[in-house]
């Protein structure tokens, strides 16, 4: 254990004082963040499915993910 043991690492028996509380304020509203599809960070997959690269096959899923976020934040 490192020298800087925070509350969340301590045994429960040592946390009885504030057993029911969050240690800090929870983060509030966040600024909208741009899409960042994970496959774009990677190189070529080298995996083909029915003749297409896996990243291309997965693309519609990522479109669905980011679309859903846009809709909900309106």
């Amino acid at each position: 254990m490192s020298a800087h043991e925070a509350r969340h690492d301590r045994p429960l028996a040592d946390c009885l004082e504030d057993f029911w509380e969050c240690a800090d304020d929870l983060p509030r509203d966040r600024d909208p963040e741009p899409p960042d599809p994970a496959p774009d960070r990677l190189g070529c997959s080298g995996i083909t499915v029915r003749g297409r690269d896996l990243a291309a096959v997965l693309r519609p899923a990522y479109d669905a993910f980011t679309r859903r976020a846009d809709v909900s934040s309106d």
């Binding site: 490192s2 969340h8 029911w20 969050c22 190189g43 499915v49 976020a69």
Partner: protein, 1039 residues
């Protein structure tokens, strides 16, 4: 009054319960259906979700006082009764359970940051505000993060195994900001959320592990929710891939359960590996600070057993943070969390180094999952590994982490692995003998012992047994860790038991010791150590330490000290049955050393003739040198149109000690020569067989002989293919085929520039090659200021014909003339003969401009000159060539320039002073032309030509005093330089005979040889005839 709480259970269900302030003291939580009513009362969405909920009991560790759980602050009830101690105790809490999919929906619906109450309705009581417990607020915040990760597309599909079954899962892959938020949420976790007691978590759960599980499950649920109404990723259709695995997995990514149906386990594992490889291809982040990993060997005992022995399983993978533009700035992770010099230094490079470190660690954990354990702590510093884990890190993780841009620091013994093999120890001295005087030869029986070794360190028997018992690839030996193959160790043990020691012939030892690819019992030979002369040979110091061999008394030369060592070495190699390569610089006397060896063997009565193969232009030289230095040798020359064959050849060869032939004839008469028994084959100017594929080379290599020697002046080490050809001639097969040699040595050394490999090759070839350089001070010491040599050249048929005609013409005319007329005839004939010996074109006064084809192949001297110039230029030397005849100089000037491809200077009497000075300066310039032709009357003074290392007298003033003056006055000898002076003499002609006379009478003043050449005209006709007549064997150059 109610308060809502929630906990994420280890079985991946969300447990909800509510405290009821109105319950009697021995109650605690309300019945689950009340919870359902509370939540369902908010609206139709949650109402429907409640129909999916189950009821169950959750065991929670709660703060307890006076036998009852303390209520949460949301209920605001003051503590009753005396203040007793608060302890932690387990309670069985009735709760509502939701499966992951519904849990995700619920948490999404309940997300209301900033609103502490949930407005709802109860059937009996109407509208009521229910406080959110912190636990529920926290869980909704986690869910919101998971939802946002999916919304940004920060997920990647994976193959997972749950309860032994395969699933397709969407895994969250946060970026730096996402990780930061994760850490903040982890740090904020209310302890109650960790308080579930289950069989795997008797004291509650760790925060990091809880958050990781939550994010994994919730992100997967939200991804599926997003895909629910979308068309499938693959249109249903005929399965194309051979095993259907990618299709089945893709289908499962969009299904509700994620279960992969109908896929073969092995194929699925293959898909997982390929996905892992794809995920590792993430381009390394270009960050000012990067996370580093350092593997430390186990020191001290296992922490679990502090008094125990040093543990082999206590490895430590330390984490550090390094500045990429200043690699020496590297700070251990535990210094990142409090102010200090390390942290300040890093902060100058980038803000918040702690975050950068954690981001890097998170990225690394994706590449090597065991690191995830370290991420669970808020301030990770190191990861403990056992031996298997350390090996896995070294083999798998380290390359992947390094490729992704992390720093990886490995122990040095891993980076330069020492191979496991066998070493041979040889004892040549016979025990019991105080001084062993007998010379080492290849039949001498020596005692040997094999030992196992790592690198070149032999292991004791105890160590080897210990290695074998370890049965692990990573073992510690003498304080050093190393990776070994258990199968090899077992093989070594078996071998040592069977054939570990004994006796063998020295020649056999050498075969093993000198073969770089030798294996014994399936193991590589790591090294050979021997004592005595054998040890010297293997160390390459043999030429300095071998037993001296006395030169027989009839030998016609006194060897210089380095030549004596050369002779000793050649004799030593011969005794050991090893082929030798003598590669001294030109002019150091390879010929005389070889002849000395033959003379020594002749004196010992060694049987069998030696065959010497040389270029045609050197046949005469060998003949003359043999006659001069080793007159006891019976020499037979196999050359010319009249050469012997069949039985006559056999008889001649059997009666000879040395047979001289040419490369051309070695090829043409290969069948005949192969049928004869040779003691030794000597290849002179062995660069003629440097291309091992030529017919000549093949023919020479096919000659059967017990011994072999190659003589060469060209530094073959520079071109490895040539080196192999020469070594392969000397010791056939020892260095493998040309192709294997190229693959093993030439490519790594010449193409890839591996200096380690170059050093290794030198070690293997050193025993076979003796090479001295004339500029080596130790050698130059043994050389006189001027090394004088006679080069015996032959005559072409054309020259011989012209020569004979001129001689018979002279003899006819002087028979009928007297006095001045006679003198005139003699003198003019002598000049003609000189010209003929130089070149027919000079004699015939042919024009000197025009194609050099008119000059080539017509003069033995010209051929030798070209060879010598080529060799000298290859050694980087400059050469002066003197001739009496300006016309010859003019003929040579253009021809040599074309032949050598270099500028050639020509100075003759008609050149004005300023031009002469310019030429001199040009020659002296190190970058200037390497060849200077001079045709000067004996008056050339004041020329500074010290840049020359060679002087060649193409033709002679037949007066030694005049000659020496020309040589010495023409240039001033530098003190540091040893100059080689060559005098060209045509064998079998007047030149040879005059030369002999001059040599014999050099020390005498005056007498027959006076100033000028007048003395020749005083000779009688008979004396003249003897002097000028051409020997019968001259003029055979062209066959």
């Amino acid at each position: 009054m109610f308060a809502l709480h929630a906990v994420w259970r280890a079985d991946r269900r969300l447990a909800l319960w509510a405290e009821d302030s109105l319950l009697p003291p021995d109650g605690y939580a309300c019945a689950p259906e009340t919870v359902a009513q509370l939540l369902g009362g908010t609206g139709p969405g949650l109402e429907w979700l409640m129909t999916k909920a189950a009821e169950d009991v959750t065991t929670l560790l709660l703060p307890t006082q006076n036998g009852a759980p303390l209520l949460s602050p949301e209920l605001g009830r003051a503590v009753q009764g005396p203040r007793a101690a608060v302890t932690l105790a387990p309670w069985r809490v009735p709760s509502l359970l939701l499966e992951p999919g519904e849990a995700a929906q619920l948490l999404g619906e309940l997300y209301a940051p900033g609103k502490p109450f949930l407005p709802t309705q109860l059937p009996a009581e109407g509208p009521v505000d229910v406080p959110y417990g912190a636990s529920l607020r926290w869980l909704t915040a986690i869910h919101d993060l998971a939802w946002r990760l999916v919304g940004r597309g920060q997920v990647l599909p994976a193959v997972a195994t749950e309860d032994g079954r395969p699933y397709a899962r969407w895994r969250p892959v946060p970026d730096g900001d996402g990780w930061r938020e994760t850490r903040e949420l982890t740090a904020a976790v209310p302890p109650v959320c960790r308080a579930e007691r289950s069989s795997g978590h008797p004291d509650g759960r760790a925060a990091g592990e809880l958050v990781a599980d939550l994010l994994d499950v919730l992100a997967d649920c939200e991804a599926r929710a997003a895909l629910e109404d979308e068309p499938p990723l693959l249109r249903p259709g005929r399965v194309r891939s051979p095993d259907g695995v990618p299709e089945a997995w893709l289908r499962a990514l969009g299904s509700y359960s994620g279960r992969v149906e109908g896929a073969d386990a092995a194929a699925l594992a293959g898909l997982r590996d390929r996905l892992d490889a794809w995920y590792r291809s993430e381009a390394p982040a270009d960050e000012p600070l990067r996370t580093c990993f350092r593997l430390g060997e186990p020191l001290g005992p296992d922490p679990a057993d502090p008094d125990g022995d040093p543990s082999d399983d206590n490895w430590r993978l330390e984490f550090l943070l390094q500045a990429t533009d200043e690699p020496s700035l590297m700070v251990a992770a535990d210094a990142l969390w409090a102010p200090g010099p390390g942290l300040s230094a890093l902060e100058r490079k980038a803000p918040r180094p702690g975050d950068a470190f954690l981001d890097g660690l998170a990225r690394a954990a994706r590449l090597w999952p065991p690191l995830r354990e370290a991420l669970r702590s808020s301030h990770p510093t190191a990861l403990r590994l056992d031996r298997a884990g350390a090996l896995a890190f070294l083999r798998d993780a380290a390359p992947a982490l390094a490729a992704a841009g992390h720093g990886v620091l490995l122990p040095t013994w891993w980076q330069r692995p020492a191979g496991f093999g066998l070493t041979l120890g040889v004892r040549t001295a016979q025990p019991g003998l105080v001084h062993d005087r007998s010379l080492l030869d290849r039949d001498r029986i020596v005692a040997f012992r094999w030992r196992a070794a790592i690198g070149d360190q032999p292991l004791t028997e105890a160590e080897l047994t210990e290695l074998a018992a370890a049965k692990q690839p990573l073992v510690r030996l003498r304080g050093q860790w190393t990776e070994v193959d258990p199968a090899l160790i077992a093989a070594a043990l078996a071998f040592l038991e069977r054939q570990g020691s004994g006796t063998m012939a020295a020649g056999e030892v050498l075969r093993v010791a000198l073969d770089p690819d030798a294996t014994v019992g399936g193991l590589p030979v790591a090294g050979v150590s021997a004592d005595g002369r054998l040890g010297d040979l293997l160390a390459g110091t043999a030429d300095h330490r071998v037993d001296p061999v006395p030169v027989p008394s009839g030998f016609g030369a006194t060897l210089r000290p380095y030549q004596e060592r050369g002779l000793d070495w050649l004799a030593f190699m011969s005794r050991l049955g090893l082929g030798a390569v003598l590669a001294d610089d030109m002019g150091l006397g390879k010929t005389v050393q070889t002849l000395a060896l033959l003379a020594v063997e002749h004196a010992q009565g060694a049987p069998g003739p030696n065959l010497l193969v040389c270029p045609m232009s050197l046949v005469g030289n060998w003949q003359r040198e043999a006659a001069r230095f080793a007159p006891m040798l019976r020499v037979h020359v196999h050359h010319g149109s009249q050469r012997l064959s069949g039985d006559a050849l056999r008889r001649a060869v059997q009666g000879a000690d040395l047979v001289v032939t040419t490369y051309g004839l070695a090829e043409r008469d290969a069948a005949e020569l192969r049928a004869l028994q040779w003691r030794r084959v000597i290849a002179d100017e062995a660069q003629h067989i440097k291309n091992s594929a030529t017919r000549q080379a093949v023919a020479v290599r096919s000659l059967p002989a017990t011994h072999r020697i190659a003589l060469t002046g060209t530094p073959v080490e520079n071109r490895l293919a040539e080196l192999h050809a020469v070594l392969d001639f000397a010791n056939p097969g020892l260095f493998g085929s040309a192709a294997r040699f190229k693959e093993r040595w030439s490519i790594p050394i010449e193409r890839d520039g591996h200096s380690d490999t170059a050093a290794e090759l030198q070690r293997h070839t050193r025993p076979f090659i003796l090479r001295r350089l004339k500029n080596d001070p130790a050698i130059a010491r043994d050389l006189p200021e001027k090394v004088e040599m006679t080069v015996n050249c032959g005559l072409t048929a054309e020259q011989a014909g012209l020569y004979r005609a001129a001689v018979s013409d002279m003899l006819a005319r002087i028979a009928e003339s007297r006095g001045i007329e006679r003198k005139g005839v003699v003198l003019s004939t002598l000049t003609k003969l000189k010209q003929i010996c130089n070149h027919p074109a000079q004699f015939l006064h042919e024009p000197y401009e025009g194609a050099s084809a008119r000059l080539a192949g017509r003069s033995g001297k010209l051929e030798r000159l070209e060879e010598i110039l080529a060799e000298a230029l290859a050694e980087g030397d400059k050469v002066l060539c003197f001739t009496q005849f300006a016309e010859f100089g003019r003929l040579l000037h253009g021809h040599l320039a074309r032949r050598l491809g270099r500028e050639v200077l020509f100075l003759h009497g008609g050149v004005p002073k300023h031009a002469r000075d310019a030429m001199t300066a040009h020659f002296q310039d190190p970058a200037g032309p390497p060849v200077f032709l001079l045709s000067l009357k004996a008056g050339g003074t004041g020329l500074n030509l010290t840049a020359a290392a060679h002087v060649i007298h193409l033709d002679r003033w037949w007066n030694p005093a005049v000659e020496d003056q020309a040589t010495d006055r023409a240039f001033r000898l530098g003190q540091r330089r040893n100059v080689q002076v060559r005098k060209f003499v045509c064998a079998g002609t007047i030149e040879e005979r005059i030369d002999a006379m001059i040599e014999a009478k050099r020390t005498l003043a005056g007498s027959v040889v006076g100033d000028g050449e007048q003395w020749l005209t005083e000779l009688s006709t008979d004396e003249l005839r003897d002097l000028v007549e051409l020997s019968a064997d001259a003029g055979e150059e062209s066959t």
